[in-house]
């Protein structure tokens, strides 16, 4: 599950993520990070589901971190998309690829909403939700 963690100025200097990783032993992977003295925003991938996932999200909330589940992030307008491929190799997480008939396919799970493909698309077929 991909989750966006939003740190307020009060908690931005605390090692919240490190503590939770140490406590749970889970391999939480950082996909994207923007942190400065005022605030922090991380997109992480948490390798668990169901009740266990909710417990972990609760740990972040208790530590003062806002939690947003990242579900649908990108929309491809297939009326505009020509399946040219201009978005594929620039994608840092390999979330875009060709299907067997050379139609562009998108893997929601891998996407970190970095916008690279939005800019790379020559016909403006990709929007970030």
């Amino acid at each position: 599950m991909r989750v966006r963690l939003i740190y307020s100025p009060e908690v931005v200097e605390k090692p919240v993520l490190a503590e939770i990783i140490a406590k749970t032993g889970l391999l939480i992977n950082i996909l994207e990070a923007k942190v400065n003295a005022q605030k922090g925003e991380l997109v992480v991938s948490i390798p668990s589901t169901g009740k266990r996932l909710e417990e972990i999200l609760a740990m972040f909330r208790e530590a003062g971190v806002r939690v947003q589940k990242v579900t649908k992030v990108l929309q491809i307008d297939y009326d505009r998309c020509t399946s040219c491929g201009a978005c594929i190799s620039p994608c840092p997480t390999r979330a875009l690829r060709f299907g067997p008939d050379w139609t562009l396919e998108f893997d929601e799970e891998k996407c970190v909403a970095c916008r690279t493909c939005v800019n790379a698309c020559p016909v403006k077929a990709i929007t970030l939700l």
Binding site: S83, C84, I88, S89, P90, R94, D101, T103, N119, P122
Partner: protein, 509 residues
């Protein structure tokens, strides 16, 4: 490959078969399969026509438009469609709209290619025109709305389409670059390529035995014609091109798409399909060429030189590129296309259908295309400023173990802002600016090596001023040490030096 061979069938015979409904037409992909399974001889005997297709960004495209005369009439000297300027060095109400012309209000977001797509889709377009007024054309201004149906003619005339193949692009530098080959990630982060390879029309008649002036083709979803070699036609090196024309009114916006390349500009994606009559075995064998037989260079677009001078970092085939990864040195690099293979395939299928339904007949060219053409670069005959003409040669340098205060005094005394730091052998190892020194003094740092920037952006003496000015703007810095191959500092160039030398000259960055 050799030309000339015993003719198996003529174009006239093929057209007779199309009329009768018994022509054998395969797409280029189907031809490849047949040749692989049954051999070229059998394929040449059985197949009458191979259809091809390509769908990619083709910047040298545009449309001649005739607006008709208003009353009172106007001799348009300037004209815009949706704020995109047309070329108006033609008669009163004729104009040429080029695919790469930028909107004067929307910049890279909208341009000539988009207007062409919108015209073909039947959308309303704002027409604005100006004139100085004459006795015969008294009107000086027009602001109105048109659609393609209001125009007398809308003729797509593309000076260069349908490249036989195209060098692929990568980027060796440490920052993302945005090019006409798309987004190129740093440190060879990706490779981008263009062209339909084994479906590409000019790859399928490699020796120009059937394609020539007058060849009827699929163009933008309608019917078009080849009217000659394209600009920069260079068939001897596998970079043939075509000039084509067709009636825009009969085209389809599925196959003509306005496009924007981020931080580069606008263009038009054009769909082209050409039927290849299998007149002999030689044509059959080129029509059966596969992606793995068509080689492509990968060039480093991080080097800001003209295309043929960008270093070749790898040689691959279209099959390698289309597999999604290629190797550069010992690195595996993701690759993807800018042109749509899916659409290219669709075009080859549509053209096949047209021929099978007896709606499209083949033509014999009235003249072949040249098989050799010189492709020259533009030589600059006037002297242009290079770094060596502008840089200052008396450079004050420092050593890494110099004291901050001492160095600050030196800067103030000499009135300079940039101080290259060199090692014992005179090699550049860092740089400090007056700002770095101010910060160091405020923070009680004592030695230069603690505060200097170690990753120095530099210039070379023979580089053009435009390239160096752009580099400074990109890194948001105001001075570069000039170094030679041995990293010895020979001078320094700053934005001040450039602006002082260039007063009165236009500098484009």
């Amino acid at each position: 490959m050799k030309r000339s061979q015993r003719e198996i069938r003529s174009v006239e015979e093929i057209n007779e078969k199309i009329k009768r409904g018994d022509a054998v037409v395969l797409t280029a992909e189907e031809m490849i399969k047949l040749a692989d399974s049954s051999g070229i001889k059998v394929a040449a005997k059985e197949v009458d026509v191979v259809t091809t297709g390509t769908f990619g960004a083709m910047c040298s495209s545009g449309v001649f438009l005739n607006f008709g005369h208003s009353d009172p009439p106007i001799k348009m000297t300037k004209c815009w469609l949706n704020d995109v300027p047309l070329y108006k060095g033609l008669a009163a109400v004729d104009g040429y709209l080029g695919a790469t012309a930028l909107s004067e209000t929307q910049g890279f977001e909208y341009g000539g290619g988009h207007v062409i797509e919108d015209l073909v889709s039947g959308k309303e377009i704002e027409l604005r025109a100006e004139s100085y007024g004459t006795d015969c054309y008294p009107r000086r201004h027009i602001e109105t709305v048109i659609t393609i149906d209001d125009l007398n003619q809308a003729i797509l005339v593309n000076p260069r389409n349908c490249y036989q193949k195209y060098d692929a692009a990568t980027n060796s530098t440490d920052r993302v670059i945005y090019t006409y080959m798309g987004t190129l990630l740093p440190n060879y982060g990706n490779v981008s390529f263009s062209g339909a390879g084994q479906l590409n029309p000019l790859c399928k008649d490699w020796n120009y035995e059937t394609i020539g002036i007058g060849t009827r083709i699929f163009l933008g979803g309608g019917v078009g014609y080849i009217i000659g070699e394209g600009t920069q036609h260079s068939p001897q090196s596998g970079f043939g091109t075509l000039m084509v024309r067709g009636d825009l009114k009969k085209m389809n916006s599925r196959y003509l798409r306005g496009a924007s390349f981020y931080r580069y500009g606008v263009t038009l994606y054009v769909g082209v399909g050409i039927p290849i009559p299998i007149i002999n075995e030689n044509v059959a064998s080129t029509a059966a060429l596969r992606d793995d037989q068509i080689t492509v260079n990968i060039r480093d677009y991080g080097v800001p030189s003209r295309p043929d001078l960008r270093p070749i970092v790898s040689r691959v085939t279209y099959a390698d590129l289309r597999s999604g990864k290629v190797t550069i040195g010992d690195k595996e690099v993701p690759s993807s296309s800018l042109s749509s293979y899916k659409m290219a395939r669709e075009i080859s299928e549509v053209l096949k259908k047209w021929i099978l339904e007896g709606r499209f007949f083949l033509t014999k060219p009235v003249e072949p295309l040249p098989r050799r053409r010189e492709f020259k670069p533009l030589r600059i005959r006037r002297k242009e400023l290079r770094v060596r003409d502008v840089m200052r040669r008396e450079v004050i340098t420092a050593k890494p173990d110099d004291e901050v205060k001492e160095v600050a005094r030196k800067l103030v005394a000499k009135g300079i802002d940039h101080l290259p730091v060199i090692d014992r052998d005179g090699r550049l190892i860092g740089i400090v600016t007056s700002w770095d020194l101010a910060k160091a003094i405020a923070n009680d740092r004592n030695v230069l090596s603690e505060i200097m920037t170690r990753k120095v952006i530099t210039a070379r003496e023979d580089e053009s001023i435009d390239v160096v000015a752009r580099r400074m703007a990109q890194h948001n810095i105001s001075g570069l040490p000039v170094i030679d191959e041995a990293k010895q500092v020979s001078g320094i160039i700053t934005t001040d030096d450039i602006s002082r030398r260039l007063v009165g000259r236009r500098l484009t960055i």
